[in-house]
Symmetry: C2
Subunit: 321 residues, 2 copies
């Protein structure tokens, strides 16, 4: 049998109202009474019902987190930091993997609102989801522009692209290509592409779908068709890894014949592929800043500080360039 | 202003009780009335309060998921599958990263019980957490033995260790070492170690802490002190990657002078380090089986089927052996 509040009251020799007061830290309670109640809670192994409490307090202490997929090293690391920070502030994370699909993301955002979350952090690929207009619901977008009213926290994608491409140029590359995901409006990787196109004379960008086997096949086709390629700026580390794999298969020497630079620089990439030159995103800072902004909005019901926060990135030079 | 149930009732020209019946699918409602209510919900952009509903139904549709860290490729991929499966069944995931710390895991499990989760999935490193004894709370442990009453789903760790070590022996290795995490009782990696110790004449196992820089330093020390080593069975892919990194630094040729095999075989590892020979765990099957078992316990209040489920692993032979 579950232990109830009434059982605690009985064991402590006080009224249920007194137990409730102790739990909610409301009204005057003597230290002695408080101690008696706390001892009874400990003794009986009582767990207050936080669902009932949240209904009463109109605060659930739930934060919704929508990511494309937590199995991607970047979103995995970001989710870890976000969850840890929220946990230290007394908030719980409801994890949603949208797979980048509009319908899934819409269903998740509806579910989060119905569950009375105090706020949502979105790393989304989808604009135009109506639920994000829900009145007064604090939302912070990470690295994506969702709507004019939703603040954005991210890193400096244009600078990242510039650092990457300039590094390839400095290393002597004459025929640099850029490999990116599907072209969508206003996703941050498009700023990386913009930097590439601004720096290179005859830019050639390939848009690949996010599917591992296809990526390897597509890159093989690209390198066979364009043997003069001596530099690749990949828009994430997984794509860069696929370039290295294809180069090995085709006996193209890296970095002598081909230089490859990735993007993200997660701990996982740095462990599994330490030889990769990459642009490191400040993932922990992105997590801290976006949670702080969301907490400000939850506490003050409106946005203070800048609408957009752009954090610095870092070039990590290793063996592939 | 938030739209309320009463607003929907007014717009639909019915009583609040009728709206509530439609939402909860209770009692007789004519198709016409149902349509009127649904239209009003759509029109007014009404979101039912699922917190209040869950209090009434004594079901929250929340599942707690405790992992050491979602940023590890294995737990990231496992969390993705678990969340996707739960979501398709109408359940939401509360994500908890325990960092393998007893106190954190205890706090998380208490929080989950207070929030009335319908069940918990634990990939834990800690035994003896009292909250796991909470009456009638369905719990399934993934790949860890938590308590005699808590069912376990995992893969065949002894077979995995055997496949790995036998493969190194078959490839001609004469001096095989094993690199594992800290020795703890009854964690599954200890079965991998057991298989190694059963197959090798003079087994040498090194226990490393889970910290990247330390791992690389420790492995360098091991390889310098033990130059006769020609085979390494690492208990996960990240450790195997660190071995490859050190081998490169020390100019030890892989696989000619040293053969390395890892463990886990996640999608991320296979993308970033496709040349690694490894033991692939059936991560999606582990997710499916553990969720199914938990759902059985939630629906039937008791365990049906076996107490322990052991799923098969697979040897993936690549370039490092």
């Amino acid at each position: 049998m579950k232990v109830k509040l009434e059982d605690v009251a009985k064991a402590a020799g006080v009224s249920p109202t007194t137990v409730s007061r102790v739990l909610n830290n409301r009204g005057y309670i003597s230290e002695l009474t408080k101690k008696k109640v706390e001892d009874a809670i400990e003794e009986l192994d009582y767990y207050p019902n936080d669902v009932a409490r949240s209904l009463f307090k109109k605060r659930t202490n739930f934060i919704g987190l929508i990511v494309p997929t937590v199995s991607n090293p970047f979103f995995g690391e970001l989710s870890l930091y976000i969850e840890n920070i929220c946990s230290s502030l007394g908030y719980k994370i409801i994890l949603c993997n949208s797979s980048g699909q509009f319908e899934k993301e819409k269903a998740y955002s509806t579910m989060l609102i119905r569950h009375q979350v105090d706020g949502i952090l979105v790393c989304s690929y989808n604009r135009g989801i109506d639920t994000y207009k829900y009145p007064k619901l604090p939302i912070v977008a990470i690295d994506h522009y969702l709507a004019p009213t939703i603040p954005v926290v991210g890193s400096d994608n244009y600078m990242g692209g510039k650092l990457a491409v300039q590094h390839l140029i400095d290393r002597g590359c004459l025929s640099i290509i850029h490999i990116n995901g599907p072209l969508e409006l206003e996703t941050p990787t498009q700023y990386r592409r913009k930097a590439y196109e601004d720096l290179v004379d005859n830019p050639v960008t390939y848009e690949l779908q996010f599917d591992e086997e296809d990526i390897v096949l597509s890159i093989r086709k690209i390198l066979l068709e364009r043997p003069e390629t001596d530099g690749i700026f990949a828009s994430d580390d997984l794509m860069a890894a696929a370039c290295l794999q294809v180069a090995r298969e085709l006996n193209i020497q890296v970095p002598e014949q081909l230089k490859v630079i990735g993007y993200d620089g997660t701990k996982t990439t740095r462990s599994l592929l330490p030889q990769l030159t990459t642009i490191k995103q400040p993932i922990e800072e992105i997590a801290k800043t976006s949670v702080k902004k969301l907490m400000d909005m939850i506490d003050n019901s409106e946005l203070s500080g800048p609408y957009e926060t752009v954090l610095p990135v870092q070039l990590l030079i290793n063996e592939t360039t």
